[in-house]
């Protein structure tokens, strides 16, 4: 028996590789298993090669698979394009089309040629996998039936037959694979980070969305376009990202919780308006789904290289909030938190996620999608007497009126302005207003110390990472802990304002620190150094380009290297 399995299906358009992965993932979700499903495509818009990888476990999992345990490959030529992404385990079970000769670079032990049927070969493959690995066959069969429920009875029947035939053949194949150990439990939701972000926005009260299509964030636009009109909201597809963010600022100024979503190139265009929202003190939420950059970069691959742009980008002194979700479920919470903070503190908030979280589908419990919602402080009748929209206050938050409110009239401004919103270029006003606006960050830092910390109490090595890196780090720590290595991780979920005191305390409690990120220029490390004392002699940095997910193996290797270096140093000193 095995605790977990990673299965990949690779084919070209029409083979139904991704559809099979969907069915498998949904079936496992029905039986309460934990699933992380990822997809990869070739550059073609339609057709072309595609792959779908489903990692399944009875126990909680936090990262996509390092190594593939089972591969169904309809065409080796298609698989060749994914070679760098889909690494096979040494004992991987490979089921390939018997008409397609095995290339010599395939060196795994258990390669089995299969005579796939002409139609329904993807469902046939699911049958094979289900019997070989002891997957929940009833659930898969039901998921197949659901998938083809709207097709003709003949189509449904032929697919059902394909599954049964595959299942029967699988039982006869002498592959001798370990079966998956699990007990069925109550059904789970199966969602992507883009989807949980969108649901979070709706839950938070977002009723106006403006966006411009961009990979890998467009699913948020799609969700909002479908759901906002049903609940009395509006979704506008704008002419560009400049219009999107400015429409959001307009909508929010008019009193409606508003959001946009984008990726790096769009965030670059939005930078100027980020400053406008900051100086005009208008709540605005931007979900930025990172992809490889700069410029067009790697539109379909993940990276953590928009960090410095998110925390510092835009000219001038521009306070903003940046929240970084760590997984699919957390994308929901991060989005609600972004709204809560943006609305309460009248400040733009960026949800800084990435392609890997945004587009993979993960199982989650329905109960986990609950988060308290707060709203903006509207000016009271008292405050409207002699109204000062930008009144200097202790926490920097001033009373806000909404157009339509009698007595609340003011002019808002991208120009520096006085307490009433009147333009001013006086140094004194500028200094006082900058001070007021930055006090909001201090108040936010005090109220929202958002981070995750796990692992040993007094670690010999402490890992600092953020966002999607948390998943593999968490799994690596579980493995290392079982080996008796005292390792821990600190993962800030809010990057601006950074929970600096908490991070410093963590760093000080560790014998040494490893900063880990997917950014070639080590943006996270650079950023940490602006606020945290990271002693050079006790800090190691692992920073590489995105384009390939961070693996658990990589994290373990880096931890071992760091610890070996210390041992060596101690030897020399001794």
């Amino acid at each position: 028996m095995t605790q977990q399995l990673a299965l990949s299906i690779v084919g070209s358009g029409g083979d139904g590789a991704v559809a099979a992965g969907d069915i498998l993932a949904m079936a496992c979700a029905r039986d309460g298993l934990n699933v992380i499903k990822t997809e990869a495509y070739g550059p073609q818009i339609r057709g072309g090669e595609s792959s779908c990888t489903v990692r399944i476990s009875g126990k909680p999992i936090f990262a996509q698979a390092d190594l593939i345990d089972a591969l169904v490959v309809f065409s080796w030529e298609d698989f060749a394009r994914f070679r760098s992404e889909l690494a096979l385990a040494p004992d991987a079970v490979v089921l390939h089309d018997s008409d397609d000769a095995v290339p010599d670079w395939i060196v795994t032990a258990r390669v089995t040629p299969i005579h796939f049927p002409k139609t329904g070969k993807n469902i046939f493959a699911l049958g094979l996998l289900a019997s070989i690995f002891g997957l929940p066959a009833d659930a898969i069969s039901a998921a197949v039936a659901k998938r083809f429920a709207k097709k003709s009875a003949a189509v449904l029947e032929s697919n059902r037959e394909a599954f049964d035939t595959g299942f029967a053949l699988g039982a006869e194949l002498p592959v001798g694979a370990e079966k998956l150990a699990y007990t069925a439990s109550s059904p789970k939701l199966l969602m992507s980070g883009n989807e949980t972000s969108a649901v979070g926005a709706v839950d938070a009260g977002c009723r106006f969305f403006a966006g411009y299509p961009i990979t890998p964030s467009s699913e948020i636009l799609h969700f909002m376009a479908e759901w906002l009109p049903k609940i009395g909201g509006s979704c506008l597809q704008t002419e560009d990202e400049l219009a999107a963010i400015n429409a959001v600022v307009g909508g929010s100024f008019a009193g409606v919780k508003s959001m946009t979503s984008t990726s790096g190139p769009g965030l670059s265009l939005m930078s100027e308006t980020l400053g406008l929202a900051s100086i005009a003190e208008i709540p605005a939420v931007i979900v930025n789904v990172q992809r490889g950059g700069p410029s067009t970069g790697l539109p379909t691959k993940s990276e953590q290289s928009d960090l410095l742009h998110s925390v510092f980008g835009s000219h001038g002194d521009t306070p903003r909030v940046v929240i970084a979700p760590v997984d699919v479920e957390d994308s929901f919470h991060a989005t609600v938190e972004a709204f809560n903070i943006a609305e309460e503190f009248q400040i733009p908030a960026i949800v800084l996620t990435d392609q890997s979280i945004a587009q993979r589908r993960e199982t989650l419990s329905r109960d986990s999608l609950i988060h308290e919602v707060t709203s903006r402080r509207i000016a009271t009748p008292d405050q409207l007497e002699n109204f000062r929209r930008y009144a200097i206050t202790e926490d920097g938050v001033s009373p806000m009126s909404i157009p339509g409110m009698a007595g609340g009239m003011y002019q808002t401004n991208g120009l520096e302005h006085d307490e009433r919103g009147r333009p001013s270029s006086m140094y004194v006003v500028h200094e006082r207003m900058n001070d007021k606006r930055y006090r909001k960050l201090t108040a936010i830092a005090k109220k929202f110390r958002l981070y995750r910390r796990f692992g040993a109490e007094k670690p010999e090595l402490g890992i600092l990472c953020w966002g999607s890196s948390m998943g593999p780090v968490r799994e690596a720590i579980d493995i290392l802990t079982m080996e008796g290595i005292r390792v821990a991780a600190f993962v800030p979920r809010i990057l601006m304002p950074l929970p600096a005191a908490d991070i410093q305390q963590f760093v000080d409690s560790c014998a040494q620190t490893l900063v880990l990120e997917l950014s070639h220029s080590a943006q996270f490390h650079q950023f940490l150094r602006t606020e945290i004392d990271l002693p050079r002699s006790r800090t190691r940095v692992f920073a590489r380009s995105g384009g390939k997910a961070l693996s658990v193996t990589e994290v373990i290797q880096e931890v071992r290297r760091a610890l070996a270096r210390t041992e060596k140093l101690e030897e020399v000193l001794a």
Binding site: M26, A27, R30, A142, A145, K146, P187, L189, L190, V199, V202, F208, A210, E226, W227, P229, K230, I231, G232, S234, L236, T238, E239, D240, L242, A243, A244, N246, A247, V248, V249, G250, G251, S252, F253, A254, G255, V256, S258, E272, T273, L276, A280, L369, P403, G404, M405, A406, G407, G408, M409, Y410, Q411, T412, N413, G414, L415, G421, R422, P423
Partner: protein
Amino acid sequence: MTTCETVYAPNTYRSDLKPVWCPGCGDFGVLNSVYRALADLKCEPHETVVVSGIGCSSRLPGYVESYGFNSLHGRALPIATGVKLASPALNVIAVGGDGDGLAIGGNHFLHAARRNTDIAYFIMDNEIYGLTKGQAAPTTPIGDKTKSTAYGNPEAAVDPCALAISFGATWVARSFSGDVKGTTELMKQAIQHRGFAFLNIMSPCVTWRGDDQFKILRAKVKPLPADHDVTNRELALRFTNETEGLSIGVLYNISHPTLVDEMLEVRWKAQGDKLPPTRTDMLKAFTPDF
């Protein structure tokens, strides 16, 4: 609830800020027209939002007693669009200069017009960049010497009304800021029009285009022919390319569903007469219900 009756006089809409414009600037006439139009239409100041970009003329919202938004260079229209969609009951007016609206913000002009966004948009067209002190604008005539065209402007000028008509604006007019009464009347029509109403106001810059601009324009402007058919697009476009004089008045006026109309239609298609969806409905696509 307001306890005292609003007095709808031009002064009701005058804020306590003094304009920063040069003496003799054409924009004073535009501002006076705005006050009069709002007064004549009895617009509630607190239900009116004036949005602008950046430039001399974009300072205008500050001088109007209403909600105002002096935003970023070129971005008045998307902000105004957001305001209108979020709160359709508001009276939303966007203002700015020709550089703001036609150069840096040109793309938004196209799309605000195409969507028939329910806003009135007034461009104060002085054929120059004034705030940055005298560079060529998209409306500067070919051959004109400016600070950025030392040997004469090598580029052809664009007619803002021609663009608006081509882009799909449903109400397009031209006026002259020296004619406060006429401009006021056109502003009133623009504000009352359902959909995207575009008014190009020739508003001289006496500092960078010369103090004879008023005289030149006054001699040049002429009313549209009395029998002008405002529903005829080809005819309207002909008046954006005149060889002699400059016709002022409503060039084009048709009726078409607005962006707000269309958004309501989308809601109807999405929801119909069904009860609003529950959260369970929203999560259905992600729930294994088989």
